[in-house]
């Protein structure tokens, strides 16, 4: 029993990390029809910069702040310089964001060195609670809490604020939003920056979770995020949470019971969803 609870908590924590990464990806896709293959690059930049600041200052909060800031800045630069010149051209977008992914990944090695970096959570998040026989690792609970908080905040923004309404309207019909006098370019930029910041946040949280970071983990992790976006339905924010938790749980249980299949299972899940329900589980037929 306690094993299952531990696995569930692991799964939820991983799921939340993937959710943070996938949420930005799905909103960016829904709004701009850009599938950002460089999203994983923003993730590792968040991880490395966040860890660097955290280890330098000893404050996790500062580290998280640095990661988010890095995400915002890189998001702004990426949207302006890389994505904007190729809006509307799917093929160029796919190719160019993949190229950016490579560059971001290699730049990490130039700035922070090619080696892995080890990192541990701060003392107040280290260790675990014991409830009966069940071990609850503090840091994992922390990740779940942050994930939920982000979900609630973004849900609120999307539902209650004007900019949120505009984003949702933009996902449905971009032209009409423009014809109502709204500058969609600005909306694109803000959403892209927010998505990048979420990816970077996911990066720093993941860094402390796995204890070690390396440049290549961006692409590995973003494949998981892609799977989530596909399962949840491109552009569906709620769908991305649900699918992320699903994938996170599958990952945790598979890693324990049939470790060699864990990646393959998620891939298979994506393949099946794409073949039978390409619009994802959470979106109606377009």
């Amino acid at each position: 029993m306690d094993l299952i609870i531990t696995l569930i908590i692991n799964g939820l924590a991983t799921g939340m990390l993937i959710f943070l990464l996938a949420a930005g990806l799905t909103l960016i896709f829904g709004l701009m029809h850009v599938l950002n293959f460089a999203h994983g690059g923003l993730f590792i930049w968040g991880a490395f910069t966040g860890v660097w600041v955290y280890q330098l200052s000893g404050s996790l909060l500062l580290g998280i702040g640095a990661a988010i800031f890095t995400g915002l800045v890189l998001g702004l630069i990426t949207e302006r310089l890389i994505i904007r010149p190729v809006y509307g051209n799917t093929m160029q977008q796919i190719l160019i964001t993949l190229g950016l992914m490579l560059v971001l990944q290699e730049l990490i090695k130039v700035v922070y060195g090619p080696d892995q970096v080890a990192v541990a959570p701060p003392e107040y998040l280290d260790g675990s609670f014991l409830i009966g026989d069940i071990v609850l690792i503090k840091y994992r609970l922390f990740i779940i809490a942050v994930g939920l908080l982000v979900f609630i905040v973004i849900s609120f923004i999307l539902k209650r604020t004007k900019i949120g309404l505009v984003v949702r309207a933009g996902v449905m019909n971009k032209e009409m939003v423009q014809a109502l006098g709204i500058n969609i370019q600005v909306v694109f930029m803000l959403v892209f920056m927010a998505g990048a910041a979420l990816a970077a946040l996911s990066g720093i949280l993941h860094a402390l979770y796995s204890g070690v970071i390396y440049a290549e983990m961006g692409l590995e992790f973003s494949i998981l995020a892609f799977i989530v976006v596909v399962i949840g339905g491109m552009g569906s924010f709620k769908g991305s949470l649900f699918a992320a938790i699903l994938v996170g749980l599958a990952q945790a249980f598979m890693a324990y019971y049939v470790p060699f299949l864990s990646l393959a299972v998620n891939m298979l899940l994506m393949v099946i969803v794409l073949i039978f329900r390409p619009q994802g589980l959470f979106r109606g037929k377009e």
Binding site: R168, N173, A179, L180, I184
Partner: protein, 235 residues
């Protein structure tokens, strides 16, 4: 006569296809100007081109004497042009209220006044305020779209085939609405339903194969059987 909107020899492409060859239209302030013509003649493209959703290759588009050709759509909308597209452009997953909120640029006395006026005109919108736009009936969607276009102190409304796909009784209702709206704003209307066009229109332009080929007062058109037959297929 001073015109609110003026298109001069406008040429436009969609991808590689030359859709508008030479469209010249002058919309005077007040009243309803109707664009007539067969399917595929370029009427919808003309509206989209005015709105900036299509590039203008040649010619000029002026609104209140100011050149607006190839401005981004949100600038054009900001100058006071409201757009009701052929498919109404309702945000299906947003409620009626949210659809209207997206459209409201600011919430001041003027817009509140306009909103009250609109809601009086379309009581259904008030009734279904919290209903998702996608679940409205065709007529209600049309009303919502027109209301949305009208909200922002817009002086000119571009309305694309409001009667399309609606039951005759609903068409009547929409016709009535447009007649009421024309007291408040200038309207450029694309319409296939000749009876409706004839009822609300003050002047008309006929577009054929991407060119404006004929224009005049609405009441003159009915007399001109030859033109009606040639361009509209009505005899």
């Amino acid at each position: 006569m001073d015109s609110l909107l003026k298109l001069q020899e406008v040429e436009a492409f969609i991808e590689k296809y030359h859709i508008l060859h030479e469209v010249s239209i002058s919309v005077p302030k007040g009243g309803v100007t109707v664009l007539l013509g067969r399917n595929g003649a370029g009427k919808t493209t003309t509206l989209r081109t005015i709105m900036g959703l299509n590039q203008v290759n040649k010619g000029s588009v002026t609104f209140k004497g100011e050149e607006i050709r190839n401005l981004p759509p949100h600038h054009i909308a900001g100058k006071g042009i409201g757009y009701v597209p052929e498919d109404q452009g309702i945000f299906g997953e947003l409620t009626v209220g949210e659809n209207i909120r997206v459209a409201m640029k600011k919430e001041n006395q003027e817009t509140t006044k306009r909103m009250e006026w609109v809601l009086e005109l379309f009581p259904d919108l008030k009734k279904f305020w919290k209903k998702p736009g996608g679940q409205l009936s065709g007529g209600q969607k049309q009303m919502l779209s027109i209301a949305r276009a009208y909200l922002n102190e817009n002086e000119l409304l571009l309305i694309d085939e409001p009667s399309k796909g609606l039951a005759p009784i609903v068409v009547e209702k929409v016709t009535e609405t447009i007649e009421q709206m024309k007291e408040e704003a200038t309207i450029l209307l694309v319409e296939q339903n000749f009876a409706m066009a004839n009822k609300v229109g003050d002047q008309f332009y006929i577009i054929d194969d991407g060119q404006t080929v004929h224009s005049g007062r609405m009441e003159e058109l009915q007399e001109d059987k030859a033109v009606m037959k040639k361009y509209l297929g009505i005899s």
